[in-house]
Symmetry: C2
Subunit: 202 residues, 2 copies
Amino acid sequence: MTIANDALVLDAAAQDLLFREARTANTFTDEPVTDEQLQAIYDLVKYAPTAFNQQALRVVLVRSAEARERLVAQMADGNKAKTSSAPLVAILAADNEFHEELPNQLPHFPQAKEMFFSERPVREGSAAFNGALQVGYFIIGVRAAGLAAGPMTGYNAAGINKEFFADGEHSVLAVVNIGKPGEDAWFPRSPRLSYDEVVSTV
Amino acid sequence: MTIANDALVLDAAAQDLLFREARTANTFTDEPVTDEQLQAIYDLVKYAPTAFNQQALRVVLVRSAEARERLVAQMADGNKAKTSSAPLVAILAADNEFHEELPNQLPHFPQAKEMFFSERPVREGSAAFNGALQVGYFIIGVRAAGLAAGPMTGYNAAGINKEFFADGEHSVLAVVNIGKPGEDAWFPRSPRLSYDEVVSTV
């Protein structure tokens, strides 16, 4: 438990749950993660902002043994064991054709679809950045459900895109193990950069 | 106020503060945003995860009138007025030379610096993705301090990089207005994609 900082409005228990005591888990218990938990996580974090309200993030829950096997085959060696054993694994990807939905998502500015996103490379760049924001929100949301997240970027991205997004319109952003932390779930916490190393004033 | 979802551990007030009632503000009051608030925000969100604990995000607080003017000149027309009037504007950027700090930040695996990040294009891609995660965490942190964030990506990125990061080693990720929401601070909330539109199961 830490001392609450007076400059924050968020209560200390929530600070601990989401940031101070939450950790990237490398092992998990057998307790299942339910679709109801995923729906609650999504229905919370969907409100966090993206540019033009574009919401490019897509989530694939890997629940079948067959799909799990296909995913593990694409993971870096150091990530295979935890990807095999986590109660739930989610593939987080950017939908590079997000602009098709955009007029519905941005009713006060439906022209944005054609004005800004008619070119695929522009869409891919925007989906990569905004999708990554949403990966960050998703990780916080997993923690809000009292679960540990184990985000990974060590994998064959082209292989995952081919195996799980046959339409050629999605780019994997992260693979996230989700569950209750198991035995020896984490390393000692590594150092963080200090405020003065990160923040400057002009 | 909304009904707490039983599948979440995070208390309902925190859910509202960070996600459900928080909005992207387009106008702000005159109330200043202090360095103490920024330090509290950073000291909370610094714990959220990045790959290899790389922490590529850098934050420049634009406090002088001269710097504010230089920044406004690089913003898209639709963003100039709010960038001029927000109590505080922060430039969020990725440090593409983050690997220099990496052995200190990842003491159990100091070889990562040379094994994975000796090539600049690889570093730039990793810093862009992980820096974007940290932009997402930062926005949540601003809200945790009871402030509204107004993140923007409409600007001349090359111009901002040149004006504010003369070393050529940083890439702007977002510019964020920060303060208490003012009059008519937001549009009606735009629709969000439903769970079934975003989440699938294999």
